[in-house]
């Protein structure tokens, strides 16, 4: 190993380092809409029928989705509905929020701000407060606050990025609330990067026509979440950690009226009754769609889609999945982890094995990812690691050639630290990348107030569908969790004040779902929600037995 790379990869790195001066002014042309369509159809996993099938039952029957999504929808509950005693209510609240990530905490705070007494709120989450993808978002948050920008331009960028399949009212809400969210964040004390004249540092992102990416070094999501979390504690919002929801509960009027929680540590269930339930459980990265590695958090197993679907909520746009163009491809220990788009925003080019550019670095994400997959799948212009992983170079040292020494330290501290742990200095050598599973573009359909199609159920964040259409732009997800978390909180508070008390709790909707799943005659009986992915070695799994529970 020489400075973190094996000799076999060093040869290619030398070529990259030698061609840098020549490349510094070379700008690749971006693709036309037609060229984009072509590369997407040929190389993007979304367009590969082998990875997908139609949903077999329910309100979205016939929708074509990734196999892994169809699998969890066509699954039985992980508990026996007949064993659950719904007459004994453990928590009787006004607003139940399921999932304490970015959207959930924003929703909880705005529920409080909107006048719901804190003892009438319950925030329940699978792991810890803040175990979520929000803390991992590095690049930034979009908000059109510069004079040369406007919410209308932001709207156009987002619609185009989503291939014009976004739900317009949601996009309008997203872009209109952007500046408001930044203002709120400043009141909370967020340390957004600022220039010397006091203006915000705002970068470009893939598919944006203005610089509107606000950032806090490359810890933007972390910085947002640290503040929201601090406020949740300061506001004394009741919290249940290590308590994932395993099912939504309804009342006899068909309204969602709470949830069934499961304590991961004591293994007991508890019953929550709520006037309004907000679903903020995040996305499905850990289902490893199409076999891809993922940037996502351990708990991102798509539980929310399953629960909402069984409760009758309409889903949309789940046919499209976001593969981030640049996941780490080397070293093996960090394969799949996110290399923020900011690396490209700051000037890094995408290169083949001989050090020549292979595509315009700031295409919308799906196009950029497909362009890279094209190189690794259909050409020999890729670099192969000792373990057989294919990737292309991201020329990070170019950033400091363009912007001066110290730029990476200042703007990409997290990234630099991650590589330096494996002896790689990204200011001196390029880094190897390959697309990685990043984001659930679609999900539970919402309206601009946060309502789903089922009464009593609201949603916000990555669980939702419609905001991003078929592809999300960088920086619109941190914005989304805040905008729709806030809106869901405000709506829930209104519902709370209207004062409809939930009726008798029931799981009859789940029993009906089971009947439908029975008709599918599945070869293999599956169970969902998944709760946590399975990473134990096969040798261990072969020998598992249930000792204590079965002796009861």
């Amino acid at each position: 190993m020489i400075r973190g790379y094996p000799e076999s990869m060093r040869k290619s790195i030398d070529k990259v380092n030698k061609t840098r001066d020549k490349r510094i002014d070379q700008i690749m042309k971006d693709l036309t809409l037609e060229e984009r369509e072509k590369v997407l159809h040929e190389f993007h996993p979304d367009y590969n029928p082998a990875y997908k099938r139609d949903i077999g039952w329910g309100q979205n029957k016939g929708d074509n989705v990734p196999n892994e999504v169809a699998d969890i929808l066509e699954s039985y509950p992980i508990y026996d509905p007949d064993e659950i005693d719904l007459s004994q209510i453990d928590y009787d609240v006004g607003v139940l929020i399921i999932g304490a990530g970015g959207a959930g905490t924003a929703a909880a705070l705005w529920t409080v701000y909107s006048g719901v007494p804190k003892d009438k709120i319950l925030l329940a989450t699978k792991l810890r407060l803040g175990d979520c993808n929000t803390v991992m978002a590095q690049g930034g948050i979009q908000a059109a606050d510069r004079p040369e920008d406007s919410p209308l331009i932001h709207y156009l960028d987002a619609m185009g990025g989503g291939h014009f399949k976004n739900k317009p009212e949601l996009v309008k809400a997203l872009v209109s609330d952007g500046p408001k969210i930044i203002k709120w964040h400043k009141e909370l004390g967020l340390m957004y990067d600022q220039n010397e004249d006091g203006s915000f540092v705002e970068n470009a992102g893939g598919g944006t026509s203005r610089n509107r990416m606000h950032c806090a070094k490359d810890y933007t999501g972390m910085e947002i979440f640290r503040n929201l979390k601090d406020e949740v504690i300061n506001n004394e919002i009741p919290l249940l950690e290590f308590s994932p929801a395993v099912e939504l509960l309804k009342d006899e009027n068909g309204r969602v009226a709470g949830a069934l929680l499961y304590n991961l540590e004591t293994k007991e269930y508890s019953v929550v009754r709520a006037k309004t339930t907000i679903l903020t459980t995040g996305g499905f990265g850990r289902l490893h769609i199409a076999g891809f590695a993922t940037t996502n958090h351990y708990g991102a197993t798509g539980d929310g889609i399953v629960m909402a679907y069984r409760a009758g909520a309409k889903l949309r746009d789940l046919d499209s999945t976001q593969f981030h163009p640049t996941g780490a491809a080397f070293p093996e220990q960090i394969v799949g982890l996110l290399i923020t788009e900011k690396v490209r925003s700051l000037g890094a080019q995408v290169l083949g094995k001989n050090g020549e550019q292979i595509c315009y670095p700031l295409e919308p994400r799906d196009v950029e990812a497909a362009s890279i997959i094209k190189v690794t799948k259909s050409t020999d212009n890729y670099v192969e690691t000792p373990t057989g992983m294919r990737g292309v170079w991201l020329d990070s040292p170019l950033i400091e050639e363009i912007r001066g020494k110290g730029t990476i330290d200042k703007n990409l501290a997290a990234m630099k630290r991650m590589f330096s742990r494996f002896d790689i200095d990204m200011t001196e050598d390029p880094i190897l990348v390959h697309p990685t599973l990043h984001y659930q573009n679609g999900g539970v359909e919402l309206d601009e107030h946060g309502y789903t199609s089922v009464p009593g159920l609201l949603g916000a964040g990555e669980i939702s569908g419609g905001v991003h259409g078929k592809n999300r732009l960088m920086g619109n997800s941190l914005l989304e969790v805040n905008v729709f978390g806030r809106r869901a909180g405000i709506t829930a508070a209104k519902e709370y004040k209207r004062g409809k008390k939930p009726g008798k709790l029931t799981l009859s909707h789940v029993k009906k779902a089971i009947e439908q799943i029975d008709t599918l005659n599945l070869k293999k009986k599956r169970f969902s929600p998944v709760i946590l992915p399975e990473y134990r070695s096969e040798a261990v799994r072969d020998r598992l037995i249930q000792l204590f529970e079965s002796s009861l």
């Binding site: 792991l127 156009l156 185009g160 400043k186 004390g189 340390m191 220990q333 982890l337 373990t387 630290r417």
Partner: protein, 240 residues
């Protein structure tokens, strides 16, 4: 401690190392991180696991190496296993967080001391900085807080992922990472003032300045919208 080797392990042909998880030995592939090695060994993780990418601070792990007196700490998801590692994860770090209303406090030394009087107990031993997986100079930001240099404390503590290792090692029992949160929030709120353009834009939106524009854009057909999209002008892409 000598590790018992099972028949299965004897058959393994992989390049393996032996690590001791809470005292119990396991043979695991040498290329794994501590976290993946624990899973390989058969642990289904609930505590001590989170984002798996070095951001969430859930997987703080303490270890010693065979024949080395030093105590090490790092994130399980970002650290490669080594032969003879004795490790345990911290499932949770008990550390009190003060409650405050940011609107009612000022960025001053008295605020820091009011909510975290224990910072005055700092012995300057620097055990906190040495244990920090983010290489933050933790002691120095505690000291900056004591000096009332909130801005410097906030900047220095910026990369904190709140894993809590500092608080566990501190002989003065300071919850450093909570002190850091307070410093950052004070600095972000009271020193880093947002530009006027932000407030102006918020006002414009609230006054409905863009409503007509939205109405028009939203009435366009997909084809018309595409034309608008393609015709967009790009401003300021290079300068950033």
């Amino acid at each position: 401690m000598a590790k018992a080797i099972s028949m299965r392990e004897k058959k393994e042909e992989l390049d393996t190392v032996t690590i001791y998880i809470m005292g119990q030995g396991y043979k695991v592939p040498s290329s794994l991180t501590i976290m993946k090695a624990m899973e390989y060994a058969g642990f289904k993780l609930k505590r001590g696991v989170g984002c798996r990418a070095g951001f969430c601070g859930a997987c703080a792990t303490v270890y010693r190496k065979l024949g080395d007196y030093k105590i090490y700490a790092n994130l399980a998801c970002q650290t490669k296993v080594e032969d003879g590692m004795y490790l345990t994860q911290l499932p949770f770090v008990p550390a009190n967080k003060a409650e405050y209303n940011l609107d009612e406090i000022k960025p001053s030394i008295s605020t820091m001391l009011r909510f975290y009087p224990e910072i005055a107990r700092c012995l300057s031993c620097n055990a906190c900085s040495r244990v920090c997986p983010q290489d933050i100079q933790v002691m120095d930001y505690v000291q900056y807080s004591l000096q009332g240099q909130i801005d410097k404390a906030a900047e220095l503590a910026f990369d904190c992922i709140q894993c809590g290792l500092c608080a566990i090692r501190c002989p003065a029992e300071i919850p450093q990472y909570h002190v850091a949160t307070l410093a950052r929030r004070l600095h972000g709120r009271y020193h880093m003032i947002a530009p006027d353009t932000l407030e102006q834009r918020v006002k414009e939106i609230e006054e409905g300045k863009y409503e007509k524009g939205f109405e028009e854009l939203m009435s366009l057909s997909e084809e018309e919208l595409k034309k608008r999209y393609v015709a967009r002008d790009f401003i300021d892409q290079k300068k950033a």
